[in-house]
Symmetry: C2
DNA sequence: TGATTTATAGCACGAACGTTCGTTTTTAGT
DNA sequence: ACTAAAAACGAACGTTCGTGCTATAAATCA
Protein backbone atom coordinates (compact mmCIF):
# COMPACT_ATOMS: atom_id res chain seq x y z
CA UNK A 1 0.00 0.00 0.00
CA UNK A 2 1.51 3.29 -1.14
CA UNK A 3 1.66 6.34 1.03
CA UNK A 4 -1.38 7.81 -0.68
CA UNK A 5 -3.67 4.91 0.12
CA UNK A 6 -2.39 4.88 3.65
CA UNK A 7 -3.29 8.45 4.48
CA UNK A 8 -6.51 8.13 2.54
CA UNK A 9 -7.45 5.26 4.81
CA UNK A 10 -6.55 7.34 7.83
CA UNK A 11 -8.73 10.15 6.60
CA UNK A 12 -11.65 7.78 6.09
CA UNK A 13 -11.25 6.45 9.61
CA UNK A 14 -11.47 9.94 11.03
CA UNK A 15 -14.28 10.80 8.65
CA UNK A 16 -16.37 7.83 9.68
CA UNK A 17 -16.00 8.71 13.33
CA UNK A 18 -16.95 12.29 12.67
CA UNK A 19 -19.84 11.33 10.42
CA UNK A 20 -21.25 9.08 13.12
CA UNK A 21 -21.69 12.19 15.24
CA UNK A 22 -22.56 14.97 12.83
CA UNK A 23 -23.88 13.00 9.86
CA UNK A 24 -22.51 12.64 6.38
CA UNK A 25 -23.90 15.97 5.23
CA UNK A 26 -22.50 17.59 8.35
CA UNK A 27 -19.01 16.53 7.34
CA UNK A 28 -16.98 19.53 6.23
CA UNK A 29 -13.60 19.42 4.55
CA UNK A 30 -12.12 21.94 6.95
CA UNK A 31 -13.23 20.21 10.13
CA UNK A 32 -12.14 16.86 8.81
CA UNK A 33 -8.73 18.22 7.81
CA UNK A 34 -8.26 19.50 11.33
CA UNK A 35 -9.11 16.10 12.81
CA UNK A 36 -6.77 14.40 10.37
CA UNK A 37 -4.00 16.88 11.06
CA UNK A 38 -3.53 18.06 7.52
CA UNK A 39 -4.43 20.91 5.24
CA UNK A 40 -7.79 21.34 3.56
CA UNK A 41 -6.32 21.22 0.08
CA UNK A 42 -4.13 18.22 0.86
CA UNK A 43 -7.12 16.29 2.08
CA UNK A 44 -9.29 17.52 -0.72
CA UNK A 45 -6.86 16.16 -3.34
CA UNK A 46 -7.63 12.63 -2.21
CA UNK A 47 -11.24 12.83 -3.31
CA UNK A 48 -11.65 15.57 -5.89
CA UNK A 49 -14.98 16.73 -4.56
CA UNK A 50 -16.99 16.72 -1.40
CA UNK A 51 -19.55 14.42 -2.93
CA UNK A 52 -16.90 11.84 -3.77
CA UNK A 53 -15.67 12.07 -0.21
CA UNK A 54 -19.15 11.49 1.17
CA UNK A 55 -19.59 8.45 -0.99
CA UNK A 56 -16.18 7.13 0.04
CA UNK A 57 -17.16 7.54 3.68
CA UNK A 58 -20.37 5.63 3.13
CA UNK A 59 -18.50 2.82 1.42
CA UNK A 60 -16.02 2.72 4.26
CA UNK A 61 -18.90 2.52 6.72
CA UNK A 62 -20.46 -0.31 4.79
CA UNK A 63 -17.26 -2.31 4.84
CA UNK A 64 -16.85 -1.67 8.53
CA UNK A 65 -20.41 -2.84 9.04
CA UNK A 66 -19.70 -6.11 7.28
CA UNK A 67 -16.59 -6.67 9.37
CA UNK A 68 -18.36 -5.88 12.61
CA UNK A 69 -21.82 -7.34 12.14
CA UNK A 70 -21.97 -9.79 9.30
CA UNK A 71 -18.68 -11.62 9.43
CA UNK A 72 -18.83 -12.47 13.15
CA UNK A 73 -22.43 -13.65 12.78
CA UNK A 74 -21.33 -16.25 10.27
CA UNK A 75 -19.82 -18.17 13.17
CA UNK A 76 -23.33 -18.83 14.44
CA UNK A 77 -25.09 -21.76 12.77
CA UNK A 78 -27.45 -21.00 9.94
CA UNK A 79 -31.01 -20.39 10.99
CA UNK A 80 -32.58 -18.51 13.84
CA UNK A 81 -29.36 -18.48 15.83
CA UNK A 82 -27.58 -16.61 13.10
CA UNK A 83 -30.45 -14.18 12.72
CA UNK A 84 -30.27 -13.50 16.43
CA UNK A 85 -26.54 -12.96 16.17
CA UNK A 86 -27.05 -10.48 13.37
CA UNK A 87 -29.53 -8.59 15.50
CA UNK A 88 -27.36 -8.39 18.59
CA UNK A 89 -24.32 -7.41 16.55
CA UNK A 90 -26.30 -4.85 14.60
CA UNK A 91 -27.93 -2.95 17.40
CA UNK A 92 -24.65 -1.87 18.91
CA UNK A 93 -22.34 -2.15 15.97
CA UNK A 94 -21.09 1.41 16.20
CA UNK A 95 -19.86 0.73 19.70
CA UNK A 96 -18.12 -2.43 18.54
CA UNK A 97 -16.62 -0.52 15.62
CA UNK A 98 -15.38 2.14 18.03
CA UNK A 99 -17.45 4.88 16.44
CA UNK A 100 -18.37 7.67 18.85
CA UNK A 101 -21.85 8.21 17.42
CA UNK A 102 -24.64 6.36 15.64
CA UNK A 103 -24.84 4.52 12.35
CA UNK A 104 -23.65 6.86 9.57
CA UNK A 105 -25.56 5.01 6.88
CA UNK A 106 -28.77 5.32 8.79
CA UNK A 107 -28.22 8.98 9.46
CA UNK A 108 -27.47 9.51 5.79
CA UNK A 109 -30.65 7.70 4.85
CA UNK A 110 -32.65 10.34 6.69
CA UNK A 111 -30.57 13.21 5.37
CA UNK A 112 -30.61 12.28 1.71
CA UNK A 113 -33.86 10.47 1.12
CA UNK A 114 -35.35 13.61 -0.37
CA UNK A 115 -32.24 14.83 -2.16
CA UNK A 116 -31.63 12.96 -5.40
CA UNK A 117 -28.08 12.44 -6.55
CA UNK A 118 -25.12 10.08 -6.29
CA UNK A 119 -24.99 10.23 -2.51
CA UNK A 120 -28.60 9.23 -2.18
CA UNK A 121 -27.98 6.41 -4.62
CA UNK A 122 -25.05 5.17 -2.56
CA UNK A 123 -27.13 5.21 0.61
CA UNK A 124 -29.98 3.35 -0.98
CA UNK A 125 -27.62 0.77 -2.44
CA UNK A 126 -25.91 0.32 0.90
CA UNK A 127 -29.07 -0.23 2.89
CA UNK A 128 -30.51 -2.43 0.17
CA UNK A 129 -27.41 -4.56 0.55
CA UNK A 130 -28.19 -4.94 4.22
CA UNK A 131 -31.72 -6.04 3.49
CA UNK A 132 -30.54 -8.49 0.85
CA UNK A 133 -28.14 -9.98 3.30
CA UNK A 134 -30.90 -10.31 5.86
CA UNK A 135 -33.17 -11.95 3.34
CA UNK A 136 -30.54 -14.58 2.62
CA UNK A 137 -30.21 -15.37 6.30
CA UNK A 138 -33.98 -15.71 6.57
CA UNK A 139 -34.06 -18.07 3.61
CA UNK A 140 -31.41 -20.18 5.28
CA UNK A 141 -33.57 -20.38 8.37
CA UNK A 142 -36.41 -21.62 6.20
CA UNK A 143 -34.19 -24.20 4.55
CA UNK A 144 -33.01 -25.28 7.96
CA UNK A 145 -36.63 -26.01 8.81
CA UNK A 146 -36.75 -23.46 11.61
CA UNK A 147 -39.06 -21.02 9.90
CA UNK A 148 -42.22 -22.01 8.05
CA UNK A 149 -41.72 -22.71 4.34
CA UNK A 150 -44.41 -20.21 3.43
CA UNK A 151 -42.72 -17.40 5.40
CA UNK A 152 -42.94 -14.07 3.61
CA UNK A 153 -39.23 -13.34 3.53
CA UNK A 154 -39.56 -9.65 2.69
CA UNK A 155 -42.14 -9.15 5.38
CA UNK A 156 -39.85 -10.80 7.91
CA UNK A 157 -36.97 -8.60 6.83
CA UNK A 158 -39.24 -5.57 7.01
CA UNK A 159 -40.22 -6.23 10.59
CA UNK A 160 -36.68 -7.19 11.57
CA UNK A 161 -35.46 -3.87 10.21
CA UNK A 162 -38.12 -2.08 12.21
CA UNK A 163 -36.79 -3.61 15.37
CA UNK A 164 -33.29 -2.47 14.49
CA UNK A 165 -34.39 1.08 13.74
CA UNK A 166 -36.45 1.59 16.85
CA UNK A 167 -33.73 0.07 18.99
CA UNK A 168 -31.17 2.48 17.66
CA UNK A 169 -33.52 5.36 18.28
CA UNK A 170 -34.14 4.12 21.79
CA UNK A 171 -30.45 3.84 22.51
CA UNK A 172 -29.21 7.03 20.94
CA UNK A 173 -32.03 9.51 21.38
CA UNK A 174 -33.78 8.25 24.49
CA UNK A 175 -30.76 6.60 26.10
CA UNK A 176 -33.00 3.70 27.07
CA UNK A 177 -30.99 1.23 29.07
CA UNK A 178 -33.28 -1.70 28.20
CA UNK A 179 -33.57 -1.05 24.47
CA UNK A 180 -31.52 -4.09 23.49
CA UNK A 181 -33.58 -6.30 25.77
CA UNK A 182 -36.75 -5.00 24.14
CA UNK A 183 -35.19 -5.70 20.78
CA UNK A 184 -34.52 -9.29 21.74
CA UNK A 185 -38.04 -9.70 23.07
CA UNK A 186 -39.46 -8.33 19.85
CA UNK A 187 -37.21 -10.68 17.89
CA UNK A 188 -38.35 -13.72 19.83
CA UNK A 189 -41.94 -12.75 19.23
CA UNK A 190 -41.18 -12.39 15.55
CA UNK A 191 -39.56 -15.80 15.16
CA UNK A 192 -42.24 -17.44 17.31
CA UNK A 193 -44.87 -16.23 14.86
CA UNK A 194 -42.97 -17.45 11.84
CA UNK A 195 -41.53 -20.60 13.42
CA UNK A 196 -42.07 -23.94 11.77
CA UNK A 197 -44.57 -25.95 13.84
CA UNK A 198 -42.22 -28.89 14.27
CA UNK A 199 -39.51 -26.80 15.84
CA UNK A 200 -41.16 -25.98 19.16
CA UNK A 201 -44.34 -28.02 19.31
CA UNK B 1 -53.46 38.08 15.57
CA UNK B 2 -51.08 40.95 14.93
CA UNK B 3 -49.07 41.33 11.78
CA UNK B 4 -46.01 39.92 13.48
CA UNK B 5 -47.59 36.66 14.49
CA UNK B 6 -49.10 36.33 11.07
CA UNK B 7 -45.85 36.47 9.15
CA UNK B 8 -44.13 34.38 11.77
CA UNK B 9 -46.68 31.70 11.12
CA UNK B 10 -46.09 31.99 7.42
CA UNK B 11 -42.37 31.62 7.95
CA UNK B 12 -42.91 28.52 10.04
CA UNK B 13 -45.09 27.02 7.33
CA UNK B 14 -42.38 27.49 4.76
CA UNK B 15 -39.74 26.35 7.22
CA UNK B 16 -41.56 23.13 7.98
CA UNK B 17 -41.88 22.31 4.30
CA UNK B 18 -38.22 23.04 3.71
CA UNK B 19 -37.14 21.12 6.80
CA UNK B 20 -39.05 18.08 5.63
CA UNK B 21 -36.73 17.96 2.65
CA UNK B 22 -33.35 19.17 3.91
CA UNK B 23 -33.70 18.53 7.63
CA UNK B 24 -33.76 20.92 10.52
CA UNK B 25 -30.01 21.38 10.57
CA UNK B 26 -30.06 21.90 6.83
CA UNK B 27 -32.34 24.89 7.29
CA UNK B 28 -30.46 28.10 6.58
CA UNK B 29 -31.71 31.57 7.31
CA UNK B 30 -30.87 32.77 3.84
CA UNK B 31 -32.60 29.98 1.96
CA UNK B 32 -35.63 30.24 4.18
CA UNK B 33 -35.83 33.99 3.71
CA UNK B 34 -35.82 33.46 -0.04
CA UNK B 35 -38.67 30.96 0.19
CA UNK B 36 -40.62 33.27 2.44
CA UNK B 37 -39.97 36.24 0.16
CA UNK B 38 -38.36 38.44 2.74
CA UNK B 39 -34.94 39.59 3.88
CA UNK B 40 -32.60 37.57 6.03
CA UNK B 41 -32.55 40.15 8.78
CA UNK B 42 -36.31 40.60 8.75
CA UNK B 43 -36.81 36.91 9.17
CA UNK B 44 -34.05 36.62 11.72
CA UNK B 45 -35.70 39.19 13.96
CA UNK B 46 -38.63 36.85 14.54
CA UNK B 47 -36.50 34.29 16.32
CA UNK B 48 -33.35 35.95 17.62
CA UNK B 49 -31.11 33.02 16.77
CA UNK B 50 -30.97 30.08 14.46
CA UNK B 51 -31.32 27.68 17.35
CA UNK B 52 -34.54 29.34 18.46
CA UNK B 53 -35.82 29.09 14.92
CA UNK B 54 -35.04 25.40 14.77
CA UNK B 55 -36.87 24.79 18.00
CA UNK B 56 -39.83 26.81 16.77
CA UNK B 57 -39.94 24.69 13.62
CA UNK B 58 -39.94 21.50 15.64
CA UNK B 59 -42.76 22.78 17.79
CA UNK B 60 -44.71 23.73 14.70
CA UNK B 61 -44.17 20.25 13.31
CA UNK B 62 -45.34 18.69 16.50
CA UNK B 63 -48.54 20.67 16.46
CA UNK B 64 -49.12 19.80 12.83
CA UNK B 65 -48.58 16.17 13.71
CA UNK B 66 -51.23 16.31 16.37
CA UNK B 67 -53.68 17.94 13.99
CA UNK B 68 -52.99 15.44 11.23
CA UNK B 69 -52.50 12.17 13.07
CA UNK B 70 -53.81 12.29 16.58
CA UNK B 71 -56.94 14.41 16.37
CA UNK B 72 -58.49 12.51 13.45
CA UNK B 73 -57.73 9.19 15.12
CA UNK B 74 -59.84 10.20 18.09
CA UNK B 75 -62.88 9.66 15.90
CA UNK B 76 -62.13 5.95 15.90
CA UNK B 77 -63.40 4.08 18.97
CA UNK B 78 -60.96 3.43 21.76
CA UNK B 79 -59.02 0.22 21.47
CA UNK B 80 -57.40 -1.57 18.57
CA UNK B 81 -59.38 0.39 16.00
CA UNK B 82 -57.93 3.65 17.25
CA UNK B 83 -54.43 2.21 17.34
CA UNK B 84 -54.88 1.15 13.75
CA UNK B 85 -56.09 4.61 12.84
CA UNK B 86 -53.04 6.17 14.48
CA UNK B 87 -50.80 3.89 12.47
CA UNK B 88 -52.40 4.58 9.12
CA UNK B 89 -52.48 8.32 9.79
CA UNK B 90 -48.91 8.29 11.01
CA UNK B 91 -47.20 6.48 8.18
CA UNK B 92 -48.20 9.06 5.62
CA UNK B 93 -48.79 12.08 7.77
CA UNK B 94 -46.40 14.31 5.87
CA UNK B 95 -48.42 13.75 2.73
CA UNK B 96 -51.62 14.55 4.57
CA UNK B 97 -49.99 17.64 6.03
CA UNK B 98 -48.90 18.68 2.55
CA UNK B 99 -45.22 18.52 3.39
CA UNK B 100 -43.02 17.79 0.39
CA UNK B 101 -40.59 15.57 2.31
CA UNK B 102 -40.42 13.26 5.29
CA UNK B 103 -41.09 13.72 8.98
CA UNK B 104 -38.97 16.64 10.23
CA UNK B 105 -38.99 15.42 13.82
CA UNK B 106 -37.68 12.06 12.78
CA UNK B 107 -34.99 13.57 10.62
CA UNK B 108 -33.99 15.82 13.49
CA UNK B 109 -33.81 12.84 15.80
CA UNK B 110 -31.08 11.37 13.63
CA UNK B 111 -29.31 14.66 13.17
CA UNK B 112 -29.16 15.73 16.79
CA UNK B 113 -29.04 12.54 18.83
CA UNK B 114 -25.30 12.98 19.29
CA UNK B 115 -25.29 16.76 19.61
CA UNK B 116 -26.33 17.89 23.08
CA UNK B 117 -28.16 21.17 23.43
CA UNK B 118 -31.59 22.74 23.41
CA UNK B 119 -32.46 21.42 19.95
CA UNK B 120 -31.72 17.85 20.94
CA UNK B 121 -33.80 18.37 24.07
CA UNK B 122 -36.73 19.60 22.00
CA UNK B 123 -36.51 16.62 19.67
CA UNK B 124 -36.37 14.15 22.52
CA UNK B 125 -39.31 15.82 24.24
CA UNK B 126 -41.32 15.81 21.05
CA UNK B 127 -40.80 12.16 20.26
CA UNK B 128 -41.32 11.22 23.88
CA UNK B 129 -44.67 12.95 23.62
CA UNK B 130 -45.55 10.72 20.71
CA UNK B 131 -44.65 7.63 22.65
CA UNK B 132 -46.63 8.79 25.66
CA UNK B 133 -49.62 9.37 23.48
CA UNK B 134 -49.26 5.90 22.02
CA UNK B 135 -48.96 4.38 25.45
CA UNK B 136 -52.24 5.95 26.47
CA UNK B 137 -53.97 4.52 23.43
CA UNK B 138 -52.57 1.10 24.26
CA UNK B 139 -53.81 1.34 27.82
CA UNK B 140 -57.26 2.20 26.54
CA UNK B 141 -57.19 -0.92 24.40
CA UNK B 142 -56.36 -2.91 27.48
CA UNK B 143 -59.18 -1.29 29.43
CA UNK B 144 -61.50 -2.02 26.53
CA UNK B 145 -60.65 -5.68 26.96
CA UNK B 146 -59.12 -5.97 23.52
CA UNK B 147 -55.54 -6.42 24.65
CA UNK B 148 -54.45 -8.71 27.45
CA UNK B 149 -54.37 -7.08 30.88
CA UNK B 150 -50.76 -8.12 31.37
CA UNK B 151 -49.66 -6.47 28.14
CA UNK B 152 -46.28 -4.77 28.47
CA UNK B 153 -47.36 -1.33 27.31
CA UNK B 154 -43.88 0.01 26.72
CA UNK B 155 -42.89 -3.06 24.76
CA UNK B 156 -46.00 -2.68 22.61
CA UNK B 157 -45.20 0.97 21.97
CA UNK B 158 -41.60 0.04 21.20
CA UNK B 159 -42.61 -2.44 18.53
CA UNK B 160 -45.29 -0.16 17.15
CA UNK B 161 -42.72 2.58 16.76
CA UNK B 162 -40.44 0.19 14.95
CA UNK B 163 -43.16 -0.47 12.41
CA UNK B 164 -43.59 3.26 11.88
CA UNK B 165 -39.87 3.87 11.43
CA UNK B 166 -39.25 1.07 8.98
CA UNK B 167 -42.33 2.01 7.02
CA UNK B 168 -41.17 5.56 6.61
CA UNK B 169 -37.74 4.35 5.50
CA UNK B 170 -39.38 2.01 3.03
CA UNK B 171 -41.52 4.75 1.61
CA UNK B 172 -38.98 7.54 1.45
CA UNK B 173 -35.68 5.85 0.78
CA UNK B 174 -36.71 2.69 -1.05
CA UNK B 175 -39.91 4.04 -2.58
CA UNK B 176 -41.58 0.74 -1.75
CA UNK B 177 -45.10 0.78 -3.03
CA UNK B 178 -46.32 -1.84 -0.55
CA UNK B 179 -44.71 -0.40 2.55
CA UNK B 180 -48.00 0.66 4.09
CA UNK B 181 -49.49 -2.77 3.46
CA UNK B 182 -46.50 -4.35 5.17
CA UNK B 183 -47.01 -1.95 8.05
CA UNK B 184 -50.61 -3.04 8.42
CA UNK B 185 -49.65 -6.71 8.28
CA UNK B 186 -47.03 -6.16 10.95
CA UNK B 187 -49.59 -4.31 13.05
CA UNK B 188 -52.12 -7.10 12.82
CA UNK B 189 -49.48 -9.61 13.84
CA UNK B 190 -48.62 -7.37 16.76
CA UNK B 191 -52.17 -7.03 18.05
CA UNK B 192 -52.84 -10.74 17.46
CA UNK B 193 -49.99 -11.60 19.80
CA UNK B 194 -51.17 -9.22 22.47
CA UNK B 195 -54.89 -9.73 21.95
CA UNK B 196 -57.09 -10.71 24.85
CA UNK B 197 -58.14 -14.35 24.38
CA UNK B 198 -61.85 -13.58 24.54
CA UNK B 199 -61.72 -11.11 21.70
CA UNK B 200 -61.16 -13.43 18.77
CA UNK B 201 -61.44 -16.99 20.14
C1' DT C 1 22.05 9.01 -5.88
C1' DG C 2 19.41 11.37 -9.30
C1' DA C 3 15.22 11.71 -11.75
C1' DT C 4 10.37 11.51 -11.62
C1' DT C 5 6.17 10.85 -10.01
C1' DT C 6 3.13 11.60 -6.13
C1' DA C 7 1.50 13.88 -2.08
C1' DT C 8 0.90 17.85 0.72
C1' DA C 9 0.88 22.75 1.87
C1' DG C 10 -0.18 27.54 1.05
C1' DC C 11 -2.92 30.90 -0.74
C1' DA C 12 -6.82 32.90 -2.84
C1' DC C 13 -11.45 32.91 -4.82
C1' DG C 14 -16.51 33.65 -4.58
C1' DA C 15 -20.37 32.25 -2.14
C1' DA C 16 -23.05 31.33 1.84
C1' DC C 17 -23.21 31.14 6.74
C1' DG C 18 -25.32 33.41 11.28
C1' DT C 19 -25.50 37.79 13.29
C1' DT C 20 -25.51 42.94 14.31
C1' DC C 21 -26.79 47.62 13.38
C1' DG C 22 -29.01 51.70 11.75
C1' DT C 23 -32.58 53.13 8.76
C1' DT C 24 -36.89 52.97 6.58
C1' DT C 25 -41.40 51.34 6.00
C1' DT C 26 -45.62 49.72 7.83
C1' DT C 27 -48.91 48.96 11.36
C1' DA C 28 -51.75 50.22 15.54
C1' DG C 29 -53.75 53.46 18.73
C1' DT C 30 -55.62 58.04 19.46
C1' DA D 1 -54.46 62.53 10.53
C1' DC D 2 -50.69 62.22 13.75
C1' DT D 3 -47.83 59.71 16.59
C1' DA D 4 -45.60 55.88 18.89
C1' DA D 5 -44.48 51.17 18.21
C1' DA D 6 -43.55 47.25 15.57
C1' DA D 7 -41.76 45.10 11.57
C1' DA D 8 -38.93 44.67 7.63
C1' DC D 9 -34.96 46.09 5.03
C1' DG D 10 -30.10 46.71 3.29
C1' DA D 11 -25.52 46.65 4.21
C1' DA D 12 -21.76 44.93 6.44
C1' DC D 13 -19.28 41.98 9.84
C1' DG D 14 -16.15 37.94 10.55
C1' DT D 15 -16.18 33.03 9.59
C1' DT D 16 -16.59 28.91 7.14
C1' DC D 17 -17.90 26.61 3.06
C1' DG D 18 -16.10 23.92 -1.31
C1' DT D 19 -12.85 24.39 -4.79
C1' DG D 20 -9.20 25.92 -7.77
C1' DC D 21 -4.26 26.97 -8.62
C1' DT D 22 1.05 26.92 -7.77
C1' DA D 23 4.93 25.61 -5.34
C1' DT D 24 7.35 22.62 -2.23
C1' DA D 25 8.17 18.37 0.04
C1' DA D 26 8.26 13.45 0.07
C1' DA D 27 8.09 8.93 -1.71
C1' DT D 28 9.14 5.80 -5.57
C1' DC D 29 12.03 3.96 -9.00
C1' DA D 30 16.05 3.74 -12.24
Amino acid sequence: MGKGEETRQGILDEALALASQVGVSGLSIGALADKAGMSKSGLFAHFGSKEEMQIAVLREGQQRFVDTVVRPALKSPRGIARLRAILTNWIDWTRRAKLPGGCPMNAAANEFDDQPGPVRDAVEAGLADGRRLLANAVRMAIEAGELRPDTDVDQFVFEFSGIVLVTMQGQRLFREKDASQRALDAFERLVRDYAAPSANA
